[in-house]
């Protein structure tokens, strides 16, 4: 019984880390009013999925899949290649998100969602005019 439980924890170690990171990331996205912090949460969340894919392809004792190296046991390259694509997507998303935060900061002078909504609701605020005339 005890051994089984240990096996669960140790054998699926990577997947427990994935779950933990995923929950931490999602919680940060939901719980924080600060736009920067939710963006950080989003990155943590995406990173957890990277680890999930990388763990899928890993084989115990396997090396890099290079032809002619004489090794017969190697990690599955396809999930690793897939996740390279997803990492690129993640970088693009983070970059675009950061760019938006910069422009929001320029337009509102704040990155706190509460402050932004408050100045949107304020009819006196001069930022509520059209940016194009």
């Amino acid at each position: 019984m005890m051994v089984d439980a240990l096996e669960q924890v140790y054998g699926l170690y990577n997947y427990w880390v994935v779950c933990a990171l995923m929950m931490i990331g999602l919680y940060m996205v939901i719980a924080h009013d600060n736009l920067m912090k939710s963006l950080i949460g989003l990155s943590v969340f995406q990173t957890s999925v990277f680890i999930l894919y990388i763990s899928l392809g890993k084989i115990d004792g396997g090396t890099a899949p290079i032809l002619g190296a004489g090794e017969l046991v190697y990690s599955h390259p396809l999930p690793h290649v897939l996740i390279l694509t997803a990492i690129v997507v993640g970088v693009a998303t983070t970059a675009l998100g950061l760019a938006l935060v910069v422009r929001i900061h320029e337009a509102y002078g704040s990155t706190e969602e509460d402050d932004i909504l408050a100045s949107d609701a304020d009819p006196e605020d001069e930022g509520n005019r059209d940016t194009i005339t």
């Binding site: 999602l26 996205v29 736009l35 939710s38 963006l39 989003l42 969340f45 995406q46 999925v49 999930l52 894919y53 899928l56 999930p79 897939l82 694509t85 997803a86 997507v89 693009a92 998303t93 675009l96 998100g97 938006l100 935060v101 422009r103 929001i104 337009a107 509102y108 969602e113 932004i116 949107d120 930022g127 509520n128 059209d130 940016t131 194009i132």
Partner: protein
Amino acid sequence: MQALVAQLPALQVVLPLIAAPFCILLRRPTAAWLVFLIASWGSLFISALLIVVVKVAGPISYAMGGWEPPVGIEYRVDHLNAFVVGLVSLIAAVIAPYAKASIEKEIVTERIYLFYALMLLCLCGLLGIAMTGDAFNLFVFLEISSLSSYALIAMGAKRRALLAAFQYLVLGTVGGTFILIGVGLLYAMTGTLNMEDLATRLPAVTDTTTVKAALAFIVVGTSLKLGLLPLHLWLPNAYTYAPSAVSAFIAATSTKVAAYALIRFIYTVFGAEFALAQMPLDDVLIFLALAAMLFGSVAAIFQTDVKRLLAWSSIAQIGYIVLGMALASAAGLTASILHLLNHGVLKAALFMAVGMLFWHTRSAQLNDLAGLGRTMPWAGAAFVAAGLGLIGVPLTAGFISKWYLLAAVMEQGRMLLVAAVLISSLLGVIYIGRVVETLYFRAPASENAKRIRPPIGMLVATWALVLASLAIGIHSTPVVQYAQTAAAGLLGGNP
């Protein structure tokens, strides 16, 4: 010629992808617009060819780069794909002449070339989702279209567009990543990413938690992109603050393509037997669709901004599409596929009509639009004609799909759902009626009293869509037959 036809599936996606950098290299607004115009009309031409080829010769399988499926990426075009691709490129081709005058008023001149480049990338992503037969490839195209639409929404004239785009980015990325997790879990269980191959290998492992979790992740992820009710939070702001041409384009295509992805995953990859019968997904989807239809319509009634009103109406209409697909019958799927097209065309026409009013008033607030139906008669009439279609008045496109949806629901004897569809349609009369009342029965503000002529490109494009929707309503047979074949293909195993 034969060789060219064989390359059509790749050309469909590659054409806008290659055209996008040209916009950036040319930099001049008019030149970039011409590139967009040519690429979107080219894409419409290709999709028309694809529709005909599929109708005549059956589904096409295209091995990308010559790598045979299931190892390589397969582009598989059956009736459903061709149908969705046709809708997306039709809307893009109509937005092209519309966008020029509309965008000149809403975006600073220095950024106009970027706007067209982003529109092309968004088009490329949407077409890619609809063409690909590879689950991971679908995720990549989904992100291409999503990333470009976040940037397009952020181009809105008001600073609120920035926050709307940011919220969409956060939720959209969570949705996209959920799909990625789901696809990863499927890969872990089957060792393949090809949808056809997944469909044959999945039945052996459907009783594992991993596959059930994969279904949950993929359904939640696509529902986020789709804007299905509890996951719709990004949608009203995004549609309201985006530039008019972007609102029309995204409202008509992006949620429809997400609905396509959901249909494809449920029916082709997982199979209706597992997803809808073994798992309680049908009940969940019907409940959410019901909530979306009623809540969306009620919320639309209380809006003071016409674009926001149309956004809430979209949330309600997504309910119809999801209801049709959750019924798990040929009739329901046909209704769902028909409503994809009809709602796409009608909602684009409505947003474009509002865009014409916005072009003059620079506001979509109901109070600022008072009496404009009299001074801008063609724009007002377009709104009325498309609005009648949205309500589902006979002889319009909306009537056809609602008729088929009601027939499909009655076939299963679910009278509660029949009542909900009818009530939601009646609520549609109220919210469209509110706009029509403002446009025609209120005195115009003094600066709106003279006759105003909108640019000819905007007028022609909007009316082209309105007339297309009327044509579907009056002579629906070809479209209905195509949708029925698509539905039969989805249900009859793999076409």
